[in-house]
């Protein structure tokens, strides 16, 4: 039972990555190829998950949608973690005015509902790209990483190995990079895992509201289309939703497993 999160979470995440990487080879049809005779068809041998209102193959669209999910998830997490870890480490290490200002900025960002700001930013973009979505989700997203890293750095500052490095005359940048960051990476990676699940959900939510990346088959957009036809063909909404559910579930399980391994104190 202890290995359950590892196996299920890891399996789902690996499957997602493989699907995203191999989508063009796995997809039975090009996602934009229309089969106008078989529109809104249920799952059949030719179209495993059925077709949408234009007769495009749902499975192919969803396989390509995995790329969007992985891209937005990884992109957002990378951007947020890079900004957040850098600023958090600087803030925690130098303290004083830098820290004070940074903490107020972070308070403001954390008080703001991120998805609302993302909606506003994307609403102004005529045809949002995947990058625009990543940018919109990262504007407020880095704050939690910065706060986490700052707290960790503060707790490490007075430890003997840091003081020893200081006594040897190591510059601040060296101490942060070589002594502090390796020690704060475990919680950051755990947070990044949950952050990725959150980013994928947020991207799907934006796409569902019609504010996702333009012209690509994102899961949220597929779900939005499917929800319009859900009385005639429920599968159109069912399968993209299950894909989102399985992805987020897998990533969260993996995050739980990582946290239990590295941070046994916060056992929930």
């Amino acid at each position: 039972m202890r290995r359950f999160p590892w196996i299920v979470g890891g399996g789902l995440v690996i499957a997602l990555l493989v699907i995203a990487a191999l989508a063009p080879w796995l997809a039975p049809y090009p996602p934009e190829q229309l089969d106008l005779v078989n529109d809104l068809a249920g799952p059949t041998g030719a179209h495993w998950l059925g077709t949408d209102e234009n007769g495009a193959d749902l499975l192919s669209q969803m396989l390509f949608g995995a790329r969007i999910a992985v891209g937005v998830g990884l992109g957002t997490v990378t951007l947020c973690a890079t900004i957040g870890v850098t600023l958090g480490a600087i803030s925690g290490w130098f303290g004083g005015l830098v820290d004070e200002v940074m903490m107020r900025v972070i308070d403001i960002l954390m008080a703001f509902p991120g998805i609302l700001l993302a909606i506003l930013i994307i609403a102004l973009t005529r045809s949002p790209s995947v990058w625009a979505v990543i940018f919109a989700l990262s504007v407020t997203g880095w704050a939690s990483y910065a706060r986490l890293v700052r707290g960790q750095v503060l707790s490490l500052r007075g430890r003997p190995f840091v003081v020893a490095a200081q006594a040897m005359g190591a510059p601040s940048a060296w101490i942060i990079a070589r002594h502090l960051l390796p020690n704060v990476m475990a919680p950051v990676i755990v947070q990044a895992t949950f952050g990725m699940a959150g980013a994928i959900l947020a991207e799907a939510g934006l796409s569902f509201l019609g504010l996702g990346p333009d012209g690509v088959p994102s899961w949220g957009a597929l779900l939005d289309q499917g929800a319009r036809y859900f009385l005639v063909s429920g599968h159109l909404a069912l399968f993209p939703g299950l894909a989102i559910l399985a992805t987020v579930l897998g990533i969260n399980l993996l995050g739980d497993a990582l946290r239990d391994r590295w941070d046994p104190r916060t056992d929930a």
Binding site: L116, L124, G158, I189, A204, G205, L209, G210
Partner: protein
């Protein structure tokens, strides 16, 4: 892995106690606050002196800054003098900072965002005159500082929060007042649903630890967080309204409570999953403590122990999280309102 072995917690691990105890710290913080408070209006005034075209806006901004500073320091002083509880004074000051900062953030992010609001509102086929008129109306032909002062803060301060861009030119505040009750109702209902699901489930999972009930609770906690509300909504609708026909469609207005149930369930599921997990962990922590053993030794019934000795203590963190999550529910209502075509701030926003 190098970072696999985590350093044991140091002297000052918690964020709350991270600040070194220093008798001079309070004074230093005051100087810091004073210099920041004076630097902003000074910078605005200097900018106005060096840019005559924007002088009016810059001076107006400097005046506004000074007013805000005065209010903030009055609150701070009231806290120091004991006219206000210090905690409340501190909170009010940081509320002011956060409100101004958050609105500036919105202003900045919207200006920095790629895309042209005129295009977004009028579409690409609009005539040059219409575009010009809207650009003027939105102050987009003005320098950034003038936009920030005249078009952003003045509309906030005159209480209208700006106007809509259609013919009606309704003040935004009226629209908000008309739409907010529906959103608040939905968010409150979502909170109630979350509590009603999470409390029994989390409690049972903790008390019957290791049984199928506990596992069911864990599965619910995992799936509930992962399930997207915009998928759960249509599926619930399909199940309860279309297939079984036990609940009215959410647009049906003659049974408002029943019509609210599915949206509330949709909105509350994610929170209830989080809460279930929290309640379970929190109850498990308290249930092993000495005072519970004592209560059991006194011969109290299990029910009484749970309610009076365990729940009371276990609820402290849970209630905090519930309060914090209410804001998230209000945001989440945007999507739920779209799914169920309910009137509300979310519908207004989109």
């Amino acid at each position: 892995m190098a970072w696999g072995r985590k350093a044991p917690p140091g002297r000052s691990g918690s964020l709350l106690h991270s600040r070194p105890v220093d008798p001079l710290a309070a004074r230093r913080r005051l100087w810091l606050a004073l210099s920041v408070a004076l630097a902003l209006p000074a910078a605005a005034a200097l900018w106005g002196a060096s840019h005559p075209a924007q002088a009016d806006a810059a001076y107006a901004l400097a005046r506004k800054c000074l007013v805000v500073d005065a209010v903030a320091f009055a609150l701070w002083g009231a806290g120091r003098k004991g006219w206000l509880p210090p905690f409340i004074a501190r909170r009010l000051v940081s509320l002011i900072i956060v409100l101004i900062g958050a609105s500036t953030l919105v202003f900045g992010a919207l200006r920095a965002a790629p895309g042209d609001p005129v295009d977004a509102i009028l579409g690409e086929q609009a005539s040059a005159e219409a575009r010009q008129a809207l650009t003027t109306a939105l102050c987009l032909d003005q320098p950034l500082l003038v936009q920030y002062d005249d078009c952003f803060w003045d509309t906030v301060l005159d209480g209208s929060l700006g106007h809509t861009f259609d013919v009606a030119r309704q003040p935004v505040i009226e629209l908000l007042a008309a739409h907010f009750p529906a959103t608040a109702e939905l968010a409150l209902a979502g909170l109630c649903v979350a509590a009603c699901v999470a409390f029994p489930l989390g409690l049972l999972a903790a008390v019957r630890r290791g049984t199928w009930l506990d596992h069911a609770g864990s599965v619910f906690a995992l799936v509930g967080v992962a399930v997207p509300a915009f998928w759960l909504g249509p599926m619930l609708l399909l199940a309860f309204t279309v297939a079984f026909d036990v609940l009215p469609s959410p647009v049906q207005t003659d049974r408002p409570i029943a019509a609210l149930l599915l949206p509330a369930l949709t909105l509350g599921t994610s929170l209830s999953a989080k809460l279930t997990r929290m309640i379970r962990a929190s109850v498990l922590e308290v249930i092993g403590e000495d005072h519970v053993v004592t209560a059991r030794a006194k011969g109290l019934t299990e029910g009484r122990i749970l309610v009076k000795h365990v729940l009371r203590n276990a609820l402290i963190p849970v209630v905090t999280v519930m309060g914090l999550q209410f804001g998230a529910l209000l945001t989440g209502a945007i999507i739920t309102e779209k799914v169920f075509a309910r009137p509300g701030v979310g519908t207004l926003l989109l």
